[in-house]
C-alpha cells in the first residue's frame, strides 16, 4: 500500500506540489495525469525518494518512507521497479546485461539461473533474439520493453512508470499499455503511472489522479472522467477534436 499525506515540495521559491494527499490502490494501475508542468514527475520522484519533500508523509505499508535513512530506504527500494521516460538503460551494457544487473547485485543465483530468468522476462515483454544488442542498436519501443523487463526481474511489489509511452507510435503505445495492464494483473503489483496520454488513461486507469497547478484537483476511475463536471479536467481530457467528438457522440447517445 502506498499513500501520500499532505505533501509539499518547492524549488527555490516556486511551490510545485501543494498539500497533496493520495491513496494509491493496491494491485491496481493508478494513473497520475495532468498538463506539462503540473507537478506529475515531481510527485512521482518524491514518492520513490529521488526528491525530498518539504512537508508531509509518504507511506509504504504504513512505514514513513521519507523519514527513513538512506540504508533503510534502499531496503524498500528493492521492492520497487521503475521504468523511466527514456528507459534509462545502461548504454555500455547489452540488453541481457541490463536485465541481469539487479540479479547480479541482489541475488545469489547461478549464471544459468540468471540467464533463464532474464530470458523469461525478455519473453514476457516480447523481446526475442536481442540479448546481445546494445540499447543504441534497438528501437525506442524495444528500449521501453527492455526497461520493463529490468523493472520486473526481481518480482517487485510496486511498479512505477514515468511517461511510459511518450515518443512511441500508436501501435507500440497500445502494446506497452496492454503489457502494463497484464503485468499488474499477473504479478499483482501496485502500479503507479505518470502520463498525459488519454488513450492510456482510458485503456488501463483503474484509479486516476488529476493534478492541476501542483494540487490534486480530481480523483476517480477512468469511467468517471467522461462524465466529470470539473472544468480543468474537462479542458485537459477533451483538448483534442477527436476527444470532443467522442464526448459529443456519447452525449447524443451513440455507443463509443
Amino acid at each position: 500500500m502506498i499513500q501520500v499525506e499532505n505533501i509539499y515540495k518547492a524549488f527555490e521559491h516556486t511551490e510545485v506540489l501543494k498539500d497533496i494527499s493520495v491513496f494509491f490502490e493496491e494491485k491496481k494501475t493508478n494513473l497520475i495525469i495532468g498538463q506539462s508542468g503540473s507537478g506529475k514527475t515531481v510527485l512521482l520522484k518524491c514518492i520513490i525518494g529521488l526528491l525530498n519533500i518539504d512537508h508531509g508523509r509518504i507511506l509504504y505499508d504504513d512505514i514513513v518512507f521519507n523519514k527513513l535513512s538512506f540504508k533503510k530506504k534502499k531496503e524498500i527500494r528493492k521492492n520497487i521497479g521503475m521504468v523511466f521516460q527514456g528507459g534509462a538503460l545502461f548504454d555500455s551494457e547489452t540488453v541481457e546485461q541490463n536485465v541481469k544487473f539487479p540479479l547480479d547485485m541482489f541475488t545469489d543465483m547461478t549464471d544459468q539461473e540468471k540467464h533463464q530468468r532474464v530470458n523469461e522476462c525478455l519473453e514476457r515483454v516480447n523481446i526475442l533474439n536481442a540479448n546481445h544488442l546494445y540499447p543504441a542498436e534497438i528501437s525506442g519501443g524495444m528500449q521501453k520493453r527492455v526497461a520493463i523487463a529490468r523493472a520486473i526481474v526481481l518480482n517487485p511489489k510496486y511498479l512505477f512508470f514515468d511517461e511510459p509511452i511518450s515518443g512511441l507510435d500508436p501501435n507500440s503505445a497500445i502494446r506497452i499499455d496492454r503489457l502494463i495492464r497484464e503485468l499488474t494483473r499477473d504479478f499483482e503489483t501496485t502500479t503507479i503511472i505518470n502520463t498525459h496520454d488519454m488513450n492510456s488513461v482510458m485503456e488501463i486507469g483503474d484509479k486516476v489522479i488529476f493534478l492541476y497547478d501542483g494540487q490534486k484537483w480530481w480523483e476517480g476511475s477512468r469511467h468517471d472522467i467522461l462524465d466529470t463536471e470539473n472544468q480543468e479536467l474537462n479542458d485537459f481530457v477533451f483538448a483534442t477534436n477527436l476527444a470532443k467528438t467522442v464526448r459529443d457522440l456519447r452525449k447524443s447517445g451513440h455507443s463509443t
Binding site: I48, G49, R77, K78, M82, F84, P102, M105, F160
Partner: protein, 251 residues
Amino acid sequence: MIKPFRDFFTHIGRYLMLMSRVFAPPEKKRMYYRQTLKEIEFLGINSMGIVAIISIFIGAVITIQTSYNTESPLYPSYLIGLAVRDILLLEFSSTIVALILAGKIGSNIASELGSMRITEQIDALEIMGVNSASYLIMPKIVAAVFFLPFLTIMSIFIGLTGGWLGGIATGVVSSSDYLYGIQYAFIPFYVTYTLIKAAIFGFIITSISAYRGYYSYGGALQVGKSSTRAVVESSIIILITNYILTQLLLT
C-alpha cells in the same frame, strides 16, 4: 561578494558528502571488483600509450636541453643523465603525467557520469537500491590510485630510455656517461615521494571529475561544461597539492 565564498563552501560540503557515500560498504563485493578491473583497463591501460609517447620524447628533449645549457667544461657530461633522472623522478612522471591524465581521464569520467545523470541511469541505479555513488565512483578511484603509480614508474623508465636514445642520436652525451649519470647520487626516497604523489593525484583526478559529472544537470551543454570544469579544477588542485607535498616531503 559573498556568493563565490558561499558557492565554494557549498561545493566543498557536497564533495565531502559524496565521498562519504562513495566509501560506504559495497552491496556486493564481486560486482565492485569486476567494475574495478574494467576501470583499470579503461582509465589505466588505455592511458599507457599516451604516457609512453609523451615520456619518451620529453626524456629526449630534457637530455638535449640540459646539454645545451651545461656546455661549460666545468660540468661533467654525466650530469645530463642525473638531470634527466631527477626531473623525471621528481616532477615530470608524477605531476606532468597527472596533468595530462586530468585532461584525458578527467573529462572522460565527468562526461560519462554526466551523461548517465541526464539520461536518468544514475536515478535508475538508486531506485534499484544500489548506492550509485559508490558503485560508479569507488572503482574509478581505486583503479586510479593503484594504477597511476604504475604509470609513473613506466613513465620514468620510458623517459630515461628516451633521454638515452636522444643523447646518443644527437651525440650530446655518450652512452656510458648517461648511464653513469642516471645512477649517480641516487636518493631512493625520491621514488617513494613520486609514488605518493601519483597515488594522491589519482585520487584528485577521479574524485573531482566524478563529483562534477555526478552532479551534472540539464543537457549536453551542461555535461560539456562539467567536463571542462573537471579538467580545470583537478589540474589546479594537482598543482596546489604538488606544492604542499613537495614542501612536506622534501624539506
